[in-house]
């Protein structure tokens, strides 16, 4: 009986402490910048937060997502809570249309001028003359290969379908990327593929090749560490991080058919409680010193800041392979998709996966 009683008491104490922590967390809103982003995606680097807080006296609080649709859910159920939101540029229009983010006064962002104009002023971000997102980073989704298996880098996406590498491909379990890769491999426009049957055929043909379908960067890293894959479809910056930080024999290509590229932009949430702080944070995030720091710890994608790019070491894969002048034209930046497209891509990809399992 005593045991039960003491358990009950400690649990009550626990509830009290919990409620206390929580109220503290909700009320310390002044002087904060609240950021919604993936965990470990730059904005929460400890040294960066320290530098920013020291410079501005503002405190940075993070909340994390694990998928883009979640960003929308979180913005909807926490109106007036977030300040800065990191969004893939392909989603910015949708967020603006739903009134979840607000236009940014770019004059307050000192570094706005040194961003690559092509990226900065693209129609995905600059909607009807208003900037709803400040382009921040870009990167690629491409084919990475084991450098021990491939003394010479492969050149074509077809290597993924090469029977020599049957059961050695780790494919990103993502409907949109899968369709885009298949579109590239079948010579179609990845934004508007005309022949979906061809894409289905191509993806179905992957069956003997696939070792694993991975979903999170963590899963992929563990696969590569265990030498499960000779080839994989993966983000370029993850490949570089694996090569630099984990010393894995790995590199990536921009295939002759092309590679997929993404742009992430920073937006300010509608009714953000601290717009000034948000602007300051965005300005810091697109600054040279931030990028310098991120490159140093490794795993950084490519900055949208023209000057910051220079901070990449000459030898970095990102610089020599992805941002190489001859590769740039082959990059296909992801354009926005309609909901119908996303749904049909997912249906297709699920159907393909179901046939993998048969």
């Amino acid at each position: 009986m005593k045991l039960v009683a003491s358990c009950a008491l400690s649990a009550l104490a626990a509830v009290a402490v919990l409620v206390g922590t929580q109220t503290a967390a909700l009320h310390a809103a002044d002087g904060e910048v609240r950021v919604l982003n993936w965990k470990g995606w730059g904005t929460d680097e400890p040294w960066a937060i320290e530098a920013f807080e020291k410079e501005t006296g503002l405190k940075v609080v993070h909340d994390y997502i694990t998928s883009f649709p979640e960003t929308f859910t979180k913005l909807r159920v926490n109106p007036g809570y977030y300040d800065v939101v990191v969004l893939n540029a392909a989603f910015t229009q949708q967020a603006a249309a739903e009134g979840l983010i607000q236009p940014i006064d770019t004059s307050t962002i000192a570094n706005f001028g040194v961003l690559f104009p092509d990226l900065r002023d693209s129609p995905e971000l600059n909607i009807d003359g208003s900037n709803f997102g400040v382009v921040w980073m870009w990167g690629g989704t491409s084919v990475s290969y084991n450098t021990d298996v491939f003394p010479e880098p492969p050149t074509s996406l077809e290597v993924l379908w090469d029977p020599k590498y049957a059961n050695r491909v780790c494919w990103r379990d993502d409907a949109e990327d899968s369709v885009r890769f298949a579109a590239l491999a079948t010579g179609q426009d990845p934004d508007k593929p005309a022949d979906m049957d061809k894409i289905r055929e191509k993806l179905l043909a992957l069956k003997p090749q696939i070792k694993a379908l991975w979903k999170s960067g963590d899963e992929w890293l563990k696969l590569v560490s265990a030498k499960e894959c000779d080839l994989s479809t993966v983000w370029t910056n993850n490949t570089e991080a694996a090569a630099v930080q984990d010393k894995l024999p790995i590199s990536f290509i921009v295939a002759k058919e092309g590679a997929i590229a993404f742009r992430d932009a920073m937006s300010i949430a509608k009714d953000a409680p601290n717009v000034k702080g948000a602007e300051a944070f965005i300005n810091y995030m697109v600054s040279v010193p931030f990028y310098q720091g991120w490159v140093k710890v490794g795993g950084a994608p490519v900055s949208a800041n023209k000057e910051a790019i220079e901070q990449l070491p000459e030898s970095s894969l990102t610089r020599t392979v992805l941002a190489a002048p001859e590769a740039l034209p082959r990059l296909n930046f992801k354009g926005p998709l309609t909901d119908e497209q996303r749904q049909s891509y997912l249906d297709l990809w699920q159907e393909v996966k179901a046939s993998f399992a048969q």
């Binding site: 009986m1 045991l3 358990c7 009950a8 400690s10 649990a11 009550l12 626990a14 509830v15 402490v17 919990l18 409620v19 922590t21 929580q22 967390a25 909700l26 609240r34 919604l36 993936w38 965990k39 470990g40 995606w41 609080v61 993070h62 909340d63 994390y64 694990t66 859910t73 159920v77 926490n78 809570y81 977030y82 999170s216 960067g217 963590d218 899963e219 890293l221 563990k222 590569v224 560490s225 265990a226 930080q245 984990d246 894995l248 795993g299």
Partner: protein
Amino acid sequence: MMKKSLSGLSLAYLLLVLGFIYLPIVIMTAMAFNESSSYALPFRFSTKWFEQLASNDILLRAGWNSVLLAAANTVVATVLGTMTAIAFARYTFRGKVLLQILLFPPIAIPWLILATAMLIFFFYSGIGRGLHAMLLAHVALSLPYVIVIVGARLQSFGTDLEEAAATLGASPLQTFFRVTLPTIAPGVMAAALFAFGISFDQFVTSYFLSPPGVTTLPVEIYASIRKGFTPEINAISAIIILVSMLLLLAVSRFYRFAGNS
């Protein structure tokens, strides 16, 4: 067969099953001492993940939050669940079948869908997010398990003992605490251990219902998977398992909950 002697074969079997259950736990712990951040082999001993953990305030605080939340969940779910299990086992009443059916959705509907539904409903009903909402969710998810586990135990006993206690002058409360509870204690304790586990490893609902800035261990772990989580997670998991193991083994020295021999 019922002799309390342990033949070599049955002991060997039990150890085999335990080995199966513990294999991943041992590996998890071993990787906490491996230098590689991505479980890469060969094994190189290192305590660096424990050192990093010691200075990782976010992870430590998340771990502490998880323990508190799980403890609160354990008490609430065990008390409510035991009460309901008793009502199920001892009475027939209108609405019993309805209530029994209500126990299925938390088990059968994927937690992801439940969590989304909770988020929407809590948001619009004004319950909001926060630890109270997480507790609300965790208890709801634990209740079916507590009720079936305690119910299985209750079913093994008739009502005789309770009737006997009543005729001896014990009030319903006295009967419960001095007769029913000790009799079903093994089931209640086991249910409590499960309730703790369900909350402690509960990611989806915690994730959806935690307000920004308040996280639990599973939330931290899952949020890290885009970039990759480091064996600090293994380290904190290993510590928690080890501490709870020692704690419970110590408690079981003094308190019988596996039943009367």
